[in-house]
Symmetry: C2
Subunit: 339 residues, 2 copies
């Protein structure tokens, strides 16, 4: 911590007033005469005073920080999300403290407890799906909100995009393009968001009377590497799908890399629609047709919601859970073959 040495009492002394008056001036509390305001400001300027935020936090019992827990810092989806969360937080006067859970649910809970004592509220972009543990956190007085993920039966607000509707839109688009052999590379099914996307896939197939081929449906952690592996796995099958609905863009990047390496043409040999519309999906090996997760709004609404809840009420008891679900939309690029 920086030690500037000059404190509020130094300012008070120099301005010939008391520390509490300086404090009032600093906090814009009315009823400080114009005259003393001038004197105080002059003293502040002269001494180059900067209030000690730590002391203020201790006294006010609030820090001005929001903790952000993500499973991967350089996954483009979380990166895009961080970007908007940082911006929205700055606008509300909050700083973001970043922590990486590495997708490990134990580590996540531990981090939440530690970070939770240093910030006014937490934003989980990553979250254990264990509602008991999460509810315990609430009982221990930790404030948090979940973004892009949700867990049923947890009494905390969340803001997500509709995975079911998005998944359905993606698959309907492929069907409309004439595909019948549509596979799915999805994220871990314990995460509701990925499950919803898969349910949307199933629903679209069913609606068009296409039976689901379980050989073509595989799941894995949403990383580029896993996307690569699962693509190779599917494309080594004796009967291959002609199209794929991929659970998110990160997986799809891996799929594209596999196709590039094995000289499978996208979209001719394999059409792809994925999910999220991260900023790189436009610039990928083959620009991705994808479902827009409205990441910008996700982050912004998350911050606004949590900040509002913080202001409204300090007692958890009166806090009602807010469930915000955004509608996704289809962004058509080259990877699906309709362009």
């Amino acid at each position: 911590m920086r030690k500037s040495g000059v404190t509020i009492s130094d300012v008070a002394r120099k301005a010939g007033v008391s520390a509490s008056t300086v404090s009032k001036y600093l906090n814009n509390i009315p009823y400080v005469s114009e005259n003393t305001k001038k004197k105080i400001q002059a003293a502040i300027d002269e001494l180059n005073f900067q209030p000690n935020i730590i002391a203020r936090s201790l006294a006010k019992q609030e820090t001005g920080y929001l903790g952000l827990l993500v499973p991967e810092v350089n996954n483009p989806f979380y990166t895009d999300l961080m970007q908007t969360i940082e911006a929205a937080a700055a606008k509300k006067g909050y700083y973001i403290i970043l922590a990486n859970t590495h997708g490990d649910s134990e580590r996540e809970l531990q981090l939440a407890r530690e970070l939770g004592n240093r910030v006014d509220a937490l934003i989980f972009a990553s979250a254990t799906n264990d509602s008991r543990k999460l509810n315990k956190l609430i009982k221990e007085n930790y404030r948090f909100l979940m973004v892009s993920r949700h867990v049923k039966e947890v009494k905390a607000s969340h803001v997500i995009v509709d995975g079911f509707v998005g998944g359905k839109m993606a698959v309907e688009h492929l069907i409309r393009l004439g595909h019948k052999k549509i596979g799915h590379i999805g994220g871990p099914q314990r995460i509701h968001q990925f499950q919803d996307r898969y349910l949307g896939y199933q629903n679209a197939l069913k609606q068009f009377g296409i039976p689901e081929n379980h050989d073509w449906v595989v799941f894995g952690d949403p990383s580029i590497q896993v996307g690569y592996q699962l693509a190779v796995q599917l494309m080594s099958l004796p009967e291959k799908p002609t199209a794929l609905f991929v659970g998110n863009d990160t997986l799809a990047l891996g799929v594209l890399e596999a196709c590039d390496n094995y000289n499978w043409s996208v979209p001719d040999d394999l059409a792809i629609v994925s999910f999220d519309n991260i900023s790189f999906s436009r610039l990928a090996l083959v620009p991705l047709t994808t479902i827009d997760s409205r990441i910008g709004e996700l982050g912004q609404i998350a911050v606004e919601t949590i900040v509002q809840q913080l202001r409204e009420d300090t007692s958890v008891l009166n806090q009602h859970k807010r469930e915000i679900v955004l509608k996704p939309s289809l962004v058509i690029r080259k990877s699906c073959g309709s362009l």
Copy 2:
């Protein structure tokens, strides 16, 4: 801030000791008997006590935070850097507070002063090149270090990659592939790092007796959009270059997008070597041949250096500037045409 209610005195009371003894236990200060250790731990467990970090910070005059100032949160270069800085910091027991300067030098200085009072040290990934202002910050007792950028005459450590050597390597590779008409799309020349890369370009040309064609050398902010525009500008020239050394991968992504839109083939119509080797460069429209900036080491060394300086000495006066310069290397992929 979370209000758990239970404080160190509650623990002390329950354990039948004094608060200061509990504090000693918490801070691993020797000379606490095994017996009281047990009692204290039992009380902590029973009460579910978590120390208040803010109070601790105030008393110890240190926060356990490192502030990170970047010009763009979702620029893949900074994203990769953040990733490694977060990891290295976590290993050292520090949290990262993120702030976005939007490349605005005024905002950057203001943020530095504000954030600087909340953290133990700052890491500038973005930095004004005004040595006077930066040195003023030092005089005001702010601790900081610069990563991936440096400013001459500033008495603060930095860790960077050798831009001159890297630029030279890039251009030499293109020359070796037979190119003579080599252009350069570079970053702002007020930033030493981009200037060094350009100097490397010039040096390589000179070494091979190739005169520099100033029509083919353009500069702009290192964004995808600018890369796009500058590429279009160069490729609309009556006499076009056959190869380009691009100042960083972000610019190169824009160049690739332009080439894609205008149906200029990379590398056949235009060979490209860029700089940084961000994680996405492998997955770009055309996988990029690029100079590896060793981002992982950059971040890790930055954190280790600043943490070490923090431990070594609290008085700025005795702090000596460390200048760490990493050697870059060439990563060959498709965009240069030698693959």
